[in-house]
């Protein structure tokens, strides 16, 4: 019987591991040849998220709005801070951050929760975190609905053509999301407390990034401490939040040079984490 298949019918398995370039090439081939599997996994993921709760996918719309409300009460009402049209400023940062946080939270357990599959079927494990990240895009896409609703209802004068640049900034963020998730999903196989740790690290990360305040406020506040300032500006989220604020809230084009630096950094980071993942992959079936 002739079975054309996406998995090889002949294989040789040895103690030798491919080198750095070999691992990277293998990873790319695996992801490209298993696109259908990734698509099914994404579909399954979205289907489950939609049916498990009473309001279903509506939560993707409500969630960022509620979070915006909380920060608005905290900053504008209680602390009497924040700038003009502050809710929109908040929303343009919360939206991409929620995408980032949910990609990581879903992705961290993507390999370790597939324990039985990993131990019983041979398949490229890389598809698991990749599918988790791709499924996360829906989270972001649905969040654009309340964003546009908000702008049409309350901030009509802030609508600019730069809104069309949202996908460009999002594309840069996607690469970064992928790198983080690939790394953490592999580490979580060995250390199950990565998930607990990630929750707190993510929270701190959010507050240290210019999300609730502007990049200018950050540089201004740290002008006496150039080392701390440098470190805070190395954070890719400093650039990403500034870019989202620019295209959504300010209606201006983002700092292209900074964005390209983050893109290149993220691509290199993704490459490195993919190599780490591929190096650890042979041990997954033994450890799980």
């Amino acid at each position: 019987m002739d079975l054309t298949a996406e998995a090889p019918t002949h294989f040789r398995s040895t103690g030798d591991r491919p080198g750095i370039i070999g691992s990277l090439r293998e990873a790319i081939v695996e992801v490209l040849s298993r696109q259908r599997l990734i698509r099914y996994l994404v579909q399954a993921d979205l289907q489950k998220k939609g049916t498990n709760t009473l309001l279903g996918n509506l939560w993707w719309v409500i969630d960022p709005l509620l979070q915006m409300l909380i920060y608005w009460i905290l900053v504008s009402v209680i602390f009497q801070r924040g700038g003009p049209d502050y809710p929109l400023f908040l929303f343009s940062a919360i939206l991409p951050w929620k995408w980032f946080a949910s990609s990581i939270n879903d992705g961290i357990t993507s390999v370790s929760s597939a324990e039985r599959l990993v131990k019983q079927i041979q398949f490229p494990k890389l598809v698991l975190p990749v599918a988790a990240v791709v499924a996360g895009i829906a989270n972001f896409a649905f969040g654009l609905i309340p964003l546009f609703a908000l702008m049409l209802l309350f901030y009509r004068d802030r609508i600019e053509v730069t809104l069309l640049l949202i996908p460009v900034v999002a594309a840069v963020q996607l690469v970064f999301n992928m790198g983080m998730t690939v790394l953490l999903s592999a580490l979580n196989v060995f250390y199950r407390d990565i998930g607990n740790l990630a929750r707190h690290v993510l929270r701190l990360w959010f507050y240290l990034s210019p999300a609730l305040f502007t990049l200018e406020q950050l540089t201004h506040a740290t002008r006496e401490f150039p080392i701390i300032q440098r470190l805070l500006l190395l954070n890719p989220w400093a650039t990403l939040f500034a870019a989202y604020h620019d295209v959504i809230y300010e209606g201006i084009v983002p700092d292209w040079a900074a964005l390209i630096r983050v893109l290149i950094g993220s691509i290199v980071f993704l490459g490195l984490t993919t190599i780490v993942f591929k190096r650890l992959e042979p041990a997954f079936a033994k450890v799980l």
Binding site: R12, S13, G15, A44, K48, K286
Partner: protein, 295 residues
């Protein structure tokens, strides 16, 4: 070591070995497990382990394993629990990569290790079939062809469109079996999964397994059922502590295996008796008694 182990295995050479093409070739295979990571570790535990690193934090589940399976051959792998039989199947299926040595597998593999592996509880039976096919790397055309067969074989009626979590365990097992056996493989790996479901389904599934065994170019079977070994296999190897102890005619190898298990049972009983006696006198702390039991 027992002296029967040294008995030459060449007594029963496989008749097909000389000219038949090789389906599986295993040379000097070794699989090492690191004990530091084998159980679900937390950072805490691994820090502790780092400080009192024991010398024996790695062990070989398989070592110096060399054998061939040629076309038309059905090889049984037998041995006591923990001998490395299941690890060997995982290596042949490509799930675990060797720490040393070479494994060459020529042909499409299906392992019945995968009964209902990773069913997604929230998805319907049909969606799970699709997902399982994609995990196994089957292309859409093949999937379209075999899906009706799977549905028919599993015989779970309208439940096929209901989420797996609503299934009884028997239905789950039937669907798992139907998926795992849907494709006729070149090389079949079996790990003691022959009895699932009720009487009728068990008969049906045994029938199907026999069909697959006959259709496959090579079969590797891990089992504790010695009747299967002598009835359906034309060669057997005996694994003990990750090494091949005997290889050859199923009857001979099964006989050696029986002898060894009698012997180790007697040894274990003797050790137990000794420990009980020592324990009764009260001269040994419980730890020492336990370590003696192990040896």
């Amino acid at each position: 070591m027992v002296d029967v182990a040294g008995r030459p295995a060449e007594a029963a050479p496989a008749p097909l070995r000389t000219d038949a093409p090789v389906a599986i070739e295993v040379r000097d295979l070794g699989v090492q497990y690191s004990l530091r990571f084998t159980k679900k570790t937390t950072l805490n535990r691994s820090f502790i382990n780092m400080f009192r690193r024991e010398p024996a934090d790695a062990f070989w589940a398989l070592r110096d394993v060399t054998f061939q399976v040629v076309h038309g051959e059905s090889l049984a792998v037998i041995g006591p629990n923990g001998a490395g039989k299941s690890t060997l199947l995982q290596v042949l299926a490509g799930i675990i990569t060797p720490s040393e040595g070479i494994v060459d597998v020529d042909g499409r593999i299906s392992s019945l290790l995968t009964l209902g592996a990773g069913f997604d509880q929230d998805l319907s039976g049909r969606d799970n079939i699709r997902l399982a096919g994609a995990f196994m790397g089957l292309d859409p055309a093949t999937m379209r062809r075999i899906t009706p067969t799977i549905v028919e074989f599993a015989d779970i009626g309208p439940f096929i469109d209901a989420p797996i979590k609503t299934y009884s365990s028997g239905m789950r097992a039937r669907l798992g079996f139907a998926i795992a056996t849907a494709v006729d493989p070149d090389i079949l790996l079996l790990d003691e999964v022959l009895a699932t479901g009720d009487e009728t389904f068990r008969a049906k599934s045994k029938q199907r397994v026999l069909e697959l065994v006959r259709g496959a170019k090579g079969v590797v079977l891990v089992t504790h059922d010695m009747n299967w070994v002598t009835e359906f296999c034309n060669r057997a190897i005996l694994l003990e502590q990750g090494r091949i102890i005997a290889e050859g005619n199923p009857y001979d190898v099964v006989a050696i295996h029986r002898e060894h298990s009698e012997q180790s049972k007697a040894e274990r009983q003797a050790a137990l008796d000794r420990a009980m006696k020592d324990g009764a006198v009260g001269s040994l702390p419980p730890d020492a008694a336990r370590s003696r039991l192990r040896s």
